[in-house]
Symmetry: C2
Subunit: 169 residues, 2 copies
């Protein structure tokens, strides 16, 4: 289900807890949520991979749902793909641009403009998919190689068993 609900206005208004204002998480809560450490999250911030939606009065980092999604994305890329954080940053640039596009989209009145934004978003996602698929393809190559070695053994095995265990070589 892809219900990235449109959010109320901008997300930087920190203070007054309005009705239905989604909870902002502090760093430890966000970390627990996605399975990272606060230190790692700060590190990603230093590298420019993420920035908290807000800061409290006393400068505590406060993360919203989008941030958590982003953090999860970063963790997935880090854990599963083996991309460096720098490469992840590249992938995330497209992500950031998409976020910007969403905001513009909501304000765009001109259908042509909206179309442009949608197409741009699709293209960015396509680039992400292509990057991931390339990685998959290369790993699949290795799998194929392994399977051919396996086939070779299976062949030997079949020959052996066809003999009913009575051959010498």
């Amino acid at each position: 289900m892809t219900e990235l609900a449109s959010r109320t206005a901008s997300k930087a208004a920190a203070a007054a807890p309005e009705i239905g204002e989604p909870r902002l998480l502090r760093i430890q809560e966000a970390a627990d949520e996605v399975g990272l450490t606060p230190r790692a999250i700060r590190h990603y911030e230093e590298l420019g991979l993420i920035k908290p939606a807000a800061r409290s009065e006393g400068a505590y980092r406060l993360y919203d749902a989008d941030d958590v999604t982003r953090l999860r994305f970063i963790k997935s890329l880090r854990d599963e793909t083996g991309f460096s954080l720098a490469e992840i940053g590249q992938l995330l640039e497209d992500e950031a641009a998409r976020a910007l596009n969403r905001a513009r989209f909501r304000e765009a009145r001109d259908p042509e403009e909206r179309r442009r934004l949608l197409v741009d978003g699709i293209e960015r996602i396509d680039r992400q998919v292509t990057t991931l698929r390339n990685k998959v393809a290369r790993i699949e190559e290795m799998v194929a190689e392994a399977r051919s070695r396996r086939a070779h053994l299976v062949e030997h095995l079949a020959a052996l068993e066809a003999d009913g265990g009575r051959a010498k070589r």
Copy 2:
């Protein structure tokens, strides 16, 4: 350094260049061959990932075709999968055992013994494949996620174009 007797016996006769004796490469040559640096190769040796088939009189490392294959495998795993060298070591343990199996297989006369060795080899390859496939599966999950986001946008786009560019929302 005296542990690879079985290996050494078959391929480490360094001196007399017999007929058809395949060339042994020194470290820089091997490195060029697979796209690594000598330093990296030595590093892999320190970690126990590879060991040269032989050493020259003056202790130069000498690599044979199998070594080169192994190095290529290491490089692939490192570059494409993002596995740590430690994890690669695990995958390679199965590889090493397979090499040993091959040697034993050639000497085994008992069909039952040969069958056992073949089955063992197949199981090891299967484990490698499983490891790789798991990684692929996780990356595919990310692809699927991206595609669902994409589908969402395409949907919007379709709605927009169905309007003939005349709607507001």
